[in-house]
Symmetry: C6
Amino acid sequence: FRDKSENNDVAGVVTGLAWTSVGGDILFIESILSKGKGTLSITGNLGTVMKESATIALQYIKSNAEEFGINPEILEKYNVHIHVPEGATPKDGPSAGITMLTSLVSSYTQRKVKNKLAMTGEITLRGKVLPVGGIKEKILAAKRANIKEIILCKDNEKDILEIKESYLKGLTFNYVTDMKQVIELALTKQKVTNAKKLI
Amino acid sequence: FRDKSENNDVAGVVTGLAWTSVGGDILFIESILSKGKGTLSITGNLGTVMKESATIALQYIKSNAEEFGINPEILEKYNVHIHVPEGATPKDGPSAGITMLTSLVSSYTQRKVKNKLAMTGEITLRGKVLPVGGIKEKILAAKRANIKEIILCKDNEKDILEIKESYLKGLTFNYVTDMKQVIELALTKQKVTNAKKLI
Amino acid sequence: FRDKSENNDVAGVVTGLAWTSVGGDILFIESILSKGKGTLSITGNLGTVMKESATIALQYIKSNAEEFGINPEILEKYNVHIHVPEGATPKDGPSAGITMLTSLVSSYTQRKVKNKLAMTGEITLRGKVLPVGGIKEKILAAKRANIKEIILCKDNEKDILEIKESYLKGLTFNYVTDMKQVIELALTKQKVTNAKKLI
Amino acid sequence: FRDKSENNDVAGVVTGLAWTSVGGDILFIESILSKGKGTLSITGNLGTVMKESATIALQYIKSNAEEFGINPEILEKYNVHIHVPEGATPKDGPSAGITMLTSLVSSYTQRKVKNKLAMTGEITLRGKVLPVGGIKEKILAAKRANIKEIILCKDNEKDILEIKESYLKGLTFNYVTDMKQVIELALTKQKVTNAKKLI
Amino acid sequence: FRDKSENNDVAGVVTGLAWTSVGGDILFIESILSKGKGTLSITGNLGTVMKESATIALQYIKSNAEEFGINPEILEKYNVHIHVPEGATPKDGPSAGITMLTSLVSSYTQRKVKNKLAMTGEITLRGKVLPVGGIKEKILAAKRANIKEIILCKDNEKDILEIKESYLKGLTFNYVTDMKQVIELALTKQKVTNAKKLI
Amino acid sequence: FRDKSENNDVAGVVTGLAWTSVGGDILFIESILSKGKGTLSITGNLGTVMKESATIALQYIKSNAEEFGINPEILEKYNVHIHVPEGATPKDGPSAGITMLTSLVSSYTQRKVKNKLAMTGEITLRGKVLPVGGIKEKILAAKRANIKEIILCKDNEKDILEIKESYLKGLTFNYVTDMKQVIELALTKQKVTNAKKLI
Ligand SMILES: [Ca+2]
Ligand SMILES: [Ca+2]
Ligand SMILES: [Ca+2]
Ligand SMILES: [Ca+2]
Ligand SMILES: [Ca+2]
Ligand SMILES: [Ca+2]
Ligand SMILES: [Ca+2]
Ligand SMILES: [Ca+2]
Ligand SMILES: [Ca+2]
Ligand SMILES: [Ca+2]
Ligand SMILES: [Ca+2]
Ligand SMILES: [Ca+2]
């Protein structure tokens, strides 16, 4: 199944771009909170590197909670679960890093994700966004899925410049170097309808 | 052994549809509560993806307890065990997701499952139901097992339209997009006879 | 070594029927309690599915303690260990389910197991007994071991009807559909001599 | 290296008989207590089945402490570690069961093990001793190692009767059916010199 | 992607030198603290030996906290996470030991790492720095990445002497034998801008 | 790299003798204490049997603390970490047993290890030292590394007698049967300079 962009009325659901053996595709990163002790769990038929991305994102958030406007008590009193549909497809690699970060910050703040936005990029503990591969295939998949705006690492700009211009029509690109730029670009100031009341 | 639909006097027992190397079959998802600390355990010779479905279902319920009419204290004070007979058959895949969700909600509320109903569909943390494969074989198995009503993802409607009409006689189809629709369709308002008194 | 039926003066020891590459055999399921926190441990060179049977049996007992006349406090304050001799033989499969259930109920109640009785059948969380394979070989092994009475799933009756009558002489068959019938048939009202004083 | 019988001045050291690819040998089972919470650990390059024997022995002792003259509080307040030299040799199988049982009872009671005694036999949770293989090779190894007395399962008596009589000169055989007989035969009433003061 | 030296305004980010199948490269070791109980977690698609380096570094720091000017309470009340980008590349070996040590000490003290510095060397619990392989390839990679100063084990000096002098122009070498020398050379007295307030 | 004997001013560092595919070598066993709950951790690219040696050594020390002059409270209130450089070399086998025992006792007592001493021998829970293989290669490596004194199992004396006398010049041999002899021979009465103040 080829996925389509979805509306953005649920906190924690962010669109990523994946590069698979059969070409590019979009994927959704979903996260959800429940009362607990701050543990992280993760599902979605994921390989080790992709699971590590979730850990890196959460560790970065824990160490920089205030800058993301997150009450540190929420991090301690809620468990978070991350899921990446679709279970039948094995997934791996570091490129969902910024998508996971965005999903988590949206869940912890209940802020709305910007509409028709997709992203791809590796994250680091020092807050940098790193470039990833498969950019051309990912961009074509984004267009097919009705995406209008894309967040990429600044170092991936050269990959976009190599794509025929006609393919890029209707897409806006945001090039970032820093994880905080991602959050500023990806999350609106608004909370989602029916925002969860945390703590 | 080919299974048959069963009566619905036990909470937590829900009929799913499976697609195996030897064709379609029905399977039962069973869940049961016991006093504890809210842990989830699972048996039935299941692969990783199918085990993940149980985790996703429980996480979704924990985050949306009130909407399912579940007292959150029950989630914290009872362990839940999910089993999928028959132990000799290895099982995997995401398609039992909505069946597991329904089983858990039935156990936590002690509400009766609708009679002669079967279902198949993947679940997501954002509450969507996703389409699954093997629809034709699953439908034939449902008929053989005396099932009368089926819940499927809206995106699987096209697979039903490709099946010869005569095969579908006597079956009612419910197409859903949302996990809450599944529960409304699958559980009656009635509690099971001898409902467990929780808390 | 070919095993023989044993006397029944120890709680928790129940005779099962196994189907191996060299034909049928009887096996013993043994369980024992010790003060603790309600944990389950298991030994006997067992495969995953056979270990899962022990978990299913214990979960069912925990959820239905009162119906088996078990004080729920005993389940919380005693650890239970299940062993299946003989360690040199790898064993697997779901067919020891009812034997494990009977062993556990005998240990928790200290009720005596009926003499010269053997059984085979898969268990489910909804309390049903499911049919199993290898019935002919198992019955022949039971006779060799001096067993007089056998508990089987009702759905295995057809397998017995296919066996030459002369082979069945001296054996009584009990066909069951429900796990509670197993316990009624398998355990006497009497406690074992030197019954352990629990709590 | 071919091992020799050792003196018996240390609690918890018991001589077993092993059957390896290069013939029979004696081996030592050693156990030792340290203050803790009743956990069991085990070393010696052992396979799963041999490790399970240690679990079975300890579970049996926990359930029958009083009959072995063991203060149950000692079981809860001391950790026990079992080691089987020599680390370079992988070892497996259930036949060290009675040797492990004897080692543990000696450690928990600080009773002296009988001098120049060796043993081999599988144990069960119901207290029975089961027969084991490789008897001829084990007996020859015992003689070479200067052993004078041997404990075997009653069902292994037939294996001894098949050995040429001259090979058996100087050896006394004790055939047992029950784990309590093993302890009566193997442990003296005396404590070891420098017995550890427990609790 | 070929990495470049980065500015040093984030605590816990240290440049190491790696030797891969496609030649030398620089890599970054990143560490970050968050409130917790002193646990260590680690990501970056790392093999066992490289993970062990992180454990050794932390154990050494725990045992020598005062000499590194670290308040032991910080070690107990903060979790530390180490990450080694880039997730798509598997990494292993002991040579990042001194880089990990430096990263951890920087995080625990919030001291600034010296600019345009890289290092490679194995660490030991007794505080020694051990020599490592691939020195020539690592040095060439350091030059390409605009590194100006390098820390190496004294025993690797001979490897530098074998490199053509022109390749070494613009590089300063510091040869060490002791882990405390590494910290003195690598960390400035200054704290990073926006130093985290610990405890 | 060929290692050399080191000075002995750090507690817990002891020289062992290893036998590898490329001949004999010396290796160092290092241990270090940090405040904690008495846990043991171990690194150095070690196989199962070598890790087991560390467990055996610690269990023996816990059970015989007073005889080694160790305050039992130190065992409960400090974690101990054992490391065996060099991480790039996989290591296994039981022959580092006495070296690990000596390292641990040195760390727990802060007593100085004798200078230019090396050792090799397997340990047991009953306190015996067992013989090991590769003696000739190990002795030659010890000479090359400037070792002057060696501790071996009494049963390895025959292996020394087979070595050409000229090879042995300058080496003193201590043959032991008992783990307590090892400690008496290996540790001086003196504490190391800068001995850690424990508790
Ligand atoms: Ca897709
Ligand atoms: Ca992505
Ligand atoms: Ca079936
Ligand atoms: Ca299904
Ligand atoms: Ca048998
Ligand atoms: Ca059975
Ligand atoms: Ca031997
Ligand atoms: Ca034995
Ligand atoms: Ca790179
Ligand atoms: Ca490095
Ligand atoms: Ca070396
Ligand atoms: Ca050694």
